[in-house]
Each structure stands twice: as C-alpha cells, then as structure tokens.
C-alpha cells in the first residue's frame, strides 16, 4: 500500500511536469497577447512593451518556462497578470466552492445511479427497468448547459423553490443546500446515468454467479443476498466509473459554474484563458490534473478494501 502511494507520487510529479510544459507551450502558441489585454485598447506600443518587460514575456519561451517551474518547485504558482493576486490564493479561495459542487453532484449521482441500477437488474425487463434505462440514456445525452437552464427556469423562475444562482452560504446550512441542489443535479445527471448503466450490467452478471446460488442454498434471505452478497461484488467496476466521473467532475464544473454563477475554479480557469492570464491558467490546470491523479489513487485503495483478491504489496 505505502509502495503504491510512493509510486503514484512520483508518477504525479512527472505528470505535472509534462502537463505544465504542454500548457505553457500551447498558451505561448495560441493567438492573443496578455500584455495588450492588460494594457487595454488605448495603450501605446511602448506601454505594451513595458508591460511585457515587467511580466518577463520578452524572454525566450523556454527561459520563461524554467523561471516559472523554479517558482513552482518553491511552492509559488506565480501572480495573476490581470489582478496581480497570488495564483494559489485565488485558487484556494475558489476551490471550496468547486469541491462542494463536485461532492454534492457525486452524492446525487451515486445514490440515484447505484440504486436505479440495482433495482433495474433485479427487476430486469420490468417497467422500472425500461424507464430507468431510457432516462439514463437521456441523462447521458442531455447537455449540461441546457439541463441547468431548464432547471433554473422551472424550479427557480417559475416555482421559486431555489435561488437562480450563486453559492456563498456554507453547504451545511439550509440556504447553502438550496443553492447547491440544482447545480448538483445538473452536474450529477450524466454521472448518475453512467453509474446506473454500469451498476445494472455488473449486477445482472453477479446475480447469476455461482456464489449467489450458494448463498441462496444456505437459506440466506433474498434481501441479504442482493444487498450484501451481490452488491459488494458488483461494486468493484462501479467504483472505477465513480472515480473517473469524480475526477472529471472536478475539472468539468466549468459550464455548470457559468450557468449557476458559482465562483469556482472552473470559472476562474475560463476567465483566465480569455484574458491570456498564463500563470492562472497554469495553476488551475495543474490543480485539476493533480486532483485527477489523487482521486484515482483513492479509487485504487478502495479496490483493495472491497476486493481481498487485489493487493498492492
């Protein structure tokens, strides 16, 4: 186990170096100049050159990259071109919002997905199964921005049950939950659908397994057979899907944050890209990549807890 964590740590470091290089180069190659964005439309040539000099943008790109990485290794992600705010501060004030949203979406997705998948499997070809598989297909197909807009239209504008947007109250207050619920559904629907499909198919496979027949032959109650003997076996592939989705959710909150006006990392990233704010883009991308790796590590650890056949020693 500790060996696995150490191995993953080194992989993470290599991955982050690779990603930072790619992002740095693509920002450099992409059209648009941060200096002219900062200077605004009225800035003269010499003003822009001064800004460039000030930000170190006149140096060769590889030198810029090494300067940047030198700071990163020392724990300094640099300063925003736009606001001069520290990138790590900007990220850490907004990250809790994104994390809240991602966790809430995942809770929605796991509860809906796993239970719908299992009920579908035990009642295969029933009306519940058919309608839940259909809804799941729709859930995967519906784009987030449309679903979010429709939810706002129905529940916030027409019915007035939930606020139209924003996320500023803590999640454990009623107000915070109200703010979180629509974005969580918006973001979690596609994951719920994927989890439901996976749970259904693995459960269908597991309930036909020999050991399920053995459990029944011992006189185990049907409920225990399903929720204890079958579920734990069926969950192993589902955990993979949950992990991958959670990783994607952390990076994929951009649209939902835009629709619901939530001040999260996703919006930070989009704004930074629009303004050619290189350090900010780098910082947010590195954060998302690191989170993805960490979530995958956690998934691998959960595997070994659920399935005794998996061991990392």
């Amino acid at each position: 186990m500790i060996g696995l964590i150490i191995r993953r740590f080194f992989q993470l470091v290599l991955l982050l170096i690779g990603i930072s290089f790619i992002v740095f180069m693509s920002m450099y190659l992409a059209p648009g100049d941060p200096a002219s964005v900062i200077g605004g439309p009225t800035a003269s040539e010499s003003d822009i050159a001064a800004i460039r000099e000030d930000l170190g943008l006149n140096k060769p790109v590889l030198v810029q990259y090494f300067d940047y990485m030198k700071n990163v290794v020392q724990g300094n992600l640099g300063y925003s071109f736009q606001t001069n705010q520290s990138v790590s501060d900007a990220i850490f004030t907004r990250f809790p919002n994104t994390l809240n949203l991602a966790i809430a979406s995942m809770v929605v997705a796991v509860i809906l997905g796993v239970s719908a998948g299992i009920i579908s499997a035990i009642k295969q070809n029933s009306w519940f199964d058919i309608s839940s598989t259909t809804v799941a297909l729709a859930g995967i197909s519906i784009p987030n921005f449309w679903l979010g807009t429709m939810l706002i239209l129905l529940f916030s504008v027409t019915l007035g049950w939930f606020p139209v947007g924003g996320l500023n109250a803590p999640f454990y207050t009623i107000e915070g939950m109200k703010q979180l619920i629509l974005p969580a559904i918006t973001l979690g629907t596609a994951s719920a659908a994927m989890i439901a499909r996976m749970s259904r198919s693995t459960m269908l496979e597991v309930i036909r397994a020999d050991y399920i027949r053995t459990a029944k032959a011992k006189g185990v109650k049907q409920k225990t057979v399903i929720w204890v003997h079958a579920l734990r076996n069926a969950m192993i592939p589902v955990i993979t899907v949950i992990g991958m989705n959670f990783g994607a959710l952390l990076g994929g909150t951009i649209i939902t944050e835009q629709v619901f006006a939530i001040n999260g990392v996703g919006r930070l990233m989009i704004d930074a890209i629009a303004a050619r704010d290189f350090p900010m883009v780098q910082g947010t991308v590195l954060l998302v990549a690191a989170l993805f790796v960490v979530v995958n590590l956690i998934v691998d650890i959960i595997y070994s807890v659920i399935d005794p056949r998996i061991s990392y020693d």
């Binding site: 020999d210 027949r213 053995t214 011992k218």
Partner: protein
C-alpha cells in the same frame, strides 16, 4: 428404512423464445435415510435441474409445472419462497460442482461458514465461529482457526470444496444434494472428498442425492442408482442391479463407455448420436434414435417403467418382451 424424499412425476419447464421446454419429464424416485442415490446421465439430461427443483433454486425462467416433491411427508412444491428458504441450508443442503466459483470471493471463509448457523440456529457470531472451527476440523481442514480469516482465493480447489461441504453440513441436514461435487477436482482429491461425504453420511444418517456422470464414482458410493436420459428416468435400481444386470440399452451403453484397463485392445464404446435438444420432438421412446435395438413400437409409443426385480425398473419395450418370455416359460 425410513423414507426421506419422495419425488413423483416431477415436470420442470423453462420459458424460452421457442416456447415452454421440458427439461425434466415426469421423474419419480425416492431416497431413504442413510441412503445414497446416484443420479447418472450425460450432461444436459436433466440431473442438475432435478436437484435444483428439489432445492427450489431453479433459474428465473424455470418452474415446476407438475408432480410432487415430498420431503419428510411435507409437500415442497406448494411451499412459499420463505418456507423453502428456512429449509435450505438447514434440513436440505446442496454442494455444487465448481468449488472455485461457488464461494463468494469478497467474504472470509469464516463469514460464509457462520451464515447458515446464524440464520437457522440463531447463534451469536462467537458461537457460530466456534462451531465453524469444529466443522472445518470435521471435514479435515488443517489450522481451522486461521482458515476462518482467509478468503476463498487463498485456498486450493480441494480445500474450497471441503469448505463447501462444511457449510452444507453446518446445520446437520437430513438430505444432502451433491451436484457433481468432485468433477472439477483432481483424482486424489476426488477420492478424499468421496470418502468424506460417505463418512459424514454414515455419522449423520443423512440421505444423499449424488449427481454425477462418472460411473467409477457411482460404483464407489452408490446404494441405489437412477439413470436419466433426456429428462426421463430410464432405469433405476440397486447399485448391484445396475452394474451386474443392466437392462436398458442406454445404461448398457454408459457402462460400456467406461474405459477398462484390463482389455488393452478395446476402444471406447461410445453411444452413437447425441442427446436430443430440449425442443426436439421425439415420438415414442426418447432414446430410440440412438438405440441399436429400436423396433417400430419404440418409434411410436413411449414405454412405461417395467419392473425387472423388486427394486429394479427399466423404461424400455425390450423389458416387455423379456417379461412375456419369462411369464411364458416360468423357470
């Protein structure tokens, strides 16, 4: 001897895309206490489905559509799922063919062994653990205390089958159904497992229904033998009757197809043809397309079960001829 299980005219059908197909067609037999009945026949002849019918564990598209199953004079076919569940693992137990997949991979041996004891005997976890250690000792597993904490993948096939047997015997059932329990094991382990089942049967005065396609196993453990073909019982009798005086051409074929080391030149006498599909319509005797002695009567009418001796029956028209000859020339 006291009768334990009485199956009468059992019919088990499966719903499929091609309509209802009968896998078991009017099977009747009985098992006494302390007796081993071996059920033999080719793969797909309905042996396993007969045993799953008794357990009430048919796949979801299968159902008993006729006949009766009396266990200790209680009708099983009309019992509710919950009533059957209380019998399973308690008074009727089953061991399956494939020990590698029959144990749940994510639970410890201890958890799986404690389950029937906690369900049927209302034992606490500690009581059940102590009993589980005794059971593992009884089936000859070394270091049982350590084994309780292990997972199935840490045990060999033979050990897993012993665990399955310990699990099946946990509540001292009066009937044990063993569906090819040694088929997946190598020969030395097979002999040990057979001895174990035989010893435990004697100790506990258990009735055993032993499903197999291996005539060697039958010779070793059977008191009585039931030969099945295409969902029907074609011959039933004491083990001596079947081995020394087989009547049905199918039984003779099965015995002839056992390789014999003493006759070097002999090749295998395989029975020509294959088992008919469930959806195949066959008039008359279901074995006639493969039978070297088939007559026109065999092709038209299904034979009844003729008595050969007091305990011996054969479902074959040849028997009618023999019986007539015998009754014509009483010797």
């Amino acid at each position: 001897m006291e009768q334990l299980l009485q199956v009468n005219d059992l019919v088990t059908q499966f719903r499929t895309a091609e309509g209802n197909l009968s896998a078991v067609r009017g099977v009747s037999f009985s098992v006494n206490k302390g007796e081993t009945l071996c059920v033999v026949g080719e793969s797909g002849c309905g042996k396993s489905i007969t045993s799953l019918s008794i357990m009430g564990l048919l796949p979801s598209n299968g159902a008993i559509t006729g006949g009766s199953i009396l266990f200790n004079d209680e009708e099983l076919t009309t019992k509710t799922e919950d009533q059957l569940r209380r019998l399973r693992g308690n008074q009727i137990s089953m061991i399956f063919q494939e020990p590698m997949t029959a144990l749940n991979p994510v639970f410890t041996i201890g958890y799986q062994l404690r389950e029937p004891l906690m369900i049927h005997r209302n034992m606490t976890k500690n009581e059940a653990s102590r009993k589980a250690v005794e059971l593992l000792e009884e089936v000859g597993i070394p270091d049982p205390v350590k084994k309780l904490k292990q997972f199935p993948h840490e045990l060999s096939g033979g050990m897993r089958q012993r665990v399955m047997i310990a699990m099946a015997l946990a509540c001292k059932p009066s009937l044990l159904i063993a569906d090819e329990p040694t088929t997946a094991l190598d020969v030395t382990i097979q002999a040990e497992i057979l001895d174990l089942i035989d010893d435990l049967k004697r100790d506990m005065d258990m009735g055993v229904v032993f499903v197999t396609h291996d005539m060697g196993v039958v010779a070793e453990i059977a008191d009585r033998v039931m030969v099945m073909y295409a969902g029907e019982v074609v011959e039933i009798g004491n083990v001596e009757d079947i081995f020394n005086d087989p009547q049905h051409p199918y039984t003779k074929g099965l015995l002839a197809s056992v390789p014999n080391i003493d006759e070097e030149s002999k090749t295998f006498d395989a029975i020509p043809g294959t088992l008919p599909n469930l959806n195949e319509k066959i008039d008359g005797c279901r074995f006639h397309p493969r039978c070297p002695f088939a007559t026109d009567k065999c092709r038209e009418q299904s034979p009844p079960a003729f008595s050969v001796g007091e305990t011996h029956q054969s479902k074959c028209w040849l028997q009618e001829v023999n019986n007539n000859v015998e009754s014509a020339n009483p010797s």
